[in-house]
């Protein structure tokens, strides 16, 4: 099981703050693509991914138990 946290417009688009996905292992890139297609998420090309609170790269591998967050361009400050 992988937990995916959603923020900002992505949270509004899905209507949920998190998803639980029955996945054992997936790359960051593949997860982004799957989510984009399944949920029709917008602006995913500028959205980053954090795994366990660290920014991750496309080829990084996500494993069961990891907490993933989709991070659209930030606008704090």
């Amino acid at each position: 099981m992988i937990t995916v946290l959603l923020f900002a417009h992505l949270q509004d688009e899905i209507g949920q703050r998190e998803l639980k996905l029955a996945i054992t292992e997936v790359t960051v890139k593949d997860l982004k693509q799957t989510l984009t297609e399944s949920y029709h998420l917008s602006q995913m090309e500028t959205t980053m991914v954090a795994v366990n609170e660290e920014y991750a790269l496309d080829h990084d591998v996500i494993r069961a138990g990891d907490v993933v967050a989709l991070i659209p361009p930030v606008s704090g400050g």
Partner: protein
């Protein structure tokens, strides 16, 4: 009482408390940056803002910025608090306090901190205008990150 130098809060920010966190007998200069909610932006009127954060990661990234600053300006002390939730006009969204033996580093480290916050800290702002609302995307007008993540200090470029 253990006080947090890098904090996300839903309470109003008190500037004096941040200044206290960085006070030092070796400081000759302290700077604060206070980001507030502005009413007018390019002719559009803001009614209020809503900030959302990925709290644990946001605090971790603020701490990362603090570490970067310690390396660049070794004698400084820094504290950062960012508020989330609904903020009205003139409310304080973020406060950065830096102390340093000398003033140049206090200004430079402070400005560095706000620039980095806008790059790497997972906090998002929703503008509620007179006629609608939007999540604000990248205010830095960056294009997609070429490496797939924002530049972290120590990255090979």
């Amino acid at each position: 009482m253990k006080e947090k130098l890098f904090e996300i809060t839903s309470e109003p920010i008190k500037v004096d408390q941040l200044i206290k966190k960085v006070e030092s007998r070796n400081a000759g200069a302290m700077t604060t940056f206070i980001g507030t909610v502005r009413e007018w932006t390019k002719g559009k009127r803001t009614l209020y803002l809503e900030y959302q954060a990925y709290i644990p990661m946001a605090e971790k990234m603020l701490k990362t910025i603090g570490d970067e600053i310690q390396r660049k300006w070794p004698d400084t002390k820094i504290a950062i608090t960012h508020r989330i939730g609904r903020l009205d006009i003139s409310d304080i969204a973020v406060c950065i306090a830096v102390s340093s033996p000398h003033r140049k580093a206090a200004y430079e480290a402070n400005e560095y901190a706000i620039e980095r916050i806008k790059q790497i800290v997972p906090i998002w702002k929703k503008e509620h205008w007179e006629n609608g609302e939007t999540w604000i995307g990248d205010q830095l007008e960056n294009v997609a990150y070429p490496t797939g993540k924002p530049k972290m200090e120590g990255d090979n470029e």
